[in-house]
Amino acid sequence: MLKKIGLFHIVPFLLASLIFVFLYHLFISDIIDNHVNIKPLKTTEISGKQEVHAGKYGNLSEVDHAELEFIASIKSKNQLTLMGSSEFTYSKFTTYKYLPAKKNYQVLGIGHAHHQSLSMLIELLAAHPENLNTKIVFFISPDWFNTEGTNSKAFVEYARPNFLNRIINDSTISLEYKEYLGQYIDSRLNEFDGVSKSMTSFMKIFIDNQTNYISLKKLKQNIKDNFKGTISKPIIENINYKLNITNTIKNSTFLNYDSIAKALQLKFISNIQSNSIYVNDNYYNKYLSNKKESILNQPNLKTNEEYLDFKLLLKYVIERKMEASFIILPLNPYYYKNTEVFLPLIDSIKLNLEKHDLPYYNLYVSDTLSYDPGILNDVMHFGDYGWMKVNKYIDSLYYGNH
């Protein structure tokens, strides 16, 4: 029996390994040597002048200067950066349009649907040298917590190559964040069309720190390390932004937020023909005519990926002493029949914020009685009335006006 195993398995295995090693030295190492020349760490300088003081970018990949304007906005002490998701519409009452237009404040919004905690964290990490004390507002959609965290498509829209390079090369950023990103990339590896060197480096940090079991991944990493350092020690260029920050002059027009808001609310309600759940007709006919109600899944605060992302984001915000505030959006309780299942989550978020004296504006309600019609345009996105309430809050919080 032993003879048989030796003959049919051990001998062939050794033979095969020999052939592999032989071929490797014959061809593969040459290919690697020829294609990879070890370069010293190179720093690319990106310089520019800040030009945008209002409006929003859906993501950071669709236009070239979005990346730059984002960093500038974080760097600027006079500009407020808003981070949110699908409530960032083109309405003229959105904060990033309304406050610049009426008060000449500098406000820039970043995000569209699926821009969630992890993406926000990555953007802020990429602006690590610029983000100390920055003024920033986060718009938290409860709906995020019914997703499986940030999806890979949204990830690549915000985790730009320059950003990832910058984070990996910045030794002042705590390894905890890098490891977390590595774990994210590792868990969704199948969803990416290839991996960049910086993504590989994040994964390596995550894998290297795994000590709990004999890991196949670790073994792989060791083999990789033997591949002449091409993968394991990638040459990732450093990115340095040289930005010229510009300012606008505020004007102090008095705005009666409440009366404008009230008018918008009445207009919204009177315009609805199709339903009595306070959803605008377009949206209702397009999405809800077949599905008149929905239920939410109660997020498990111990395992919910989005919640873990959010907690880490919060940790970083605190660590960098940002002048941050948080807007918690409601869900339309006429449509979502069990909005109360989100209360533990909302309470937990509130508690975390209060512990660190971070201001927040909670609009979440768990029943139809306390719901203020018109806050939302549909089932989860701010209407103009809702935006006006937010505008008032932000104006008083950051600019001291009432």
Binding site: F13, A16, S17, S86, H112, A113, K153, T200
Partner: protein, 52 residues
Amino acid sequence: MGTTKKIIQNTLIYFLLIIGYVYLYVININTVLNPSQEEVVKSKIDFVYQQF
């Protein structure tokens, strides 16, 4: 005769297993061959942005 054939067959299987494992799961051969390729990574997930 059968023995030689079996040894050759198993050598081939082990060889393909080793080389396949290294190429498919250990290194990303595309990065080795084209290290200067664009750093932009795309997601394979096609996501329809709902509503907006």
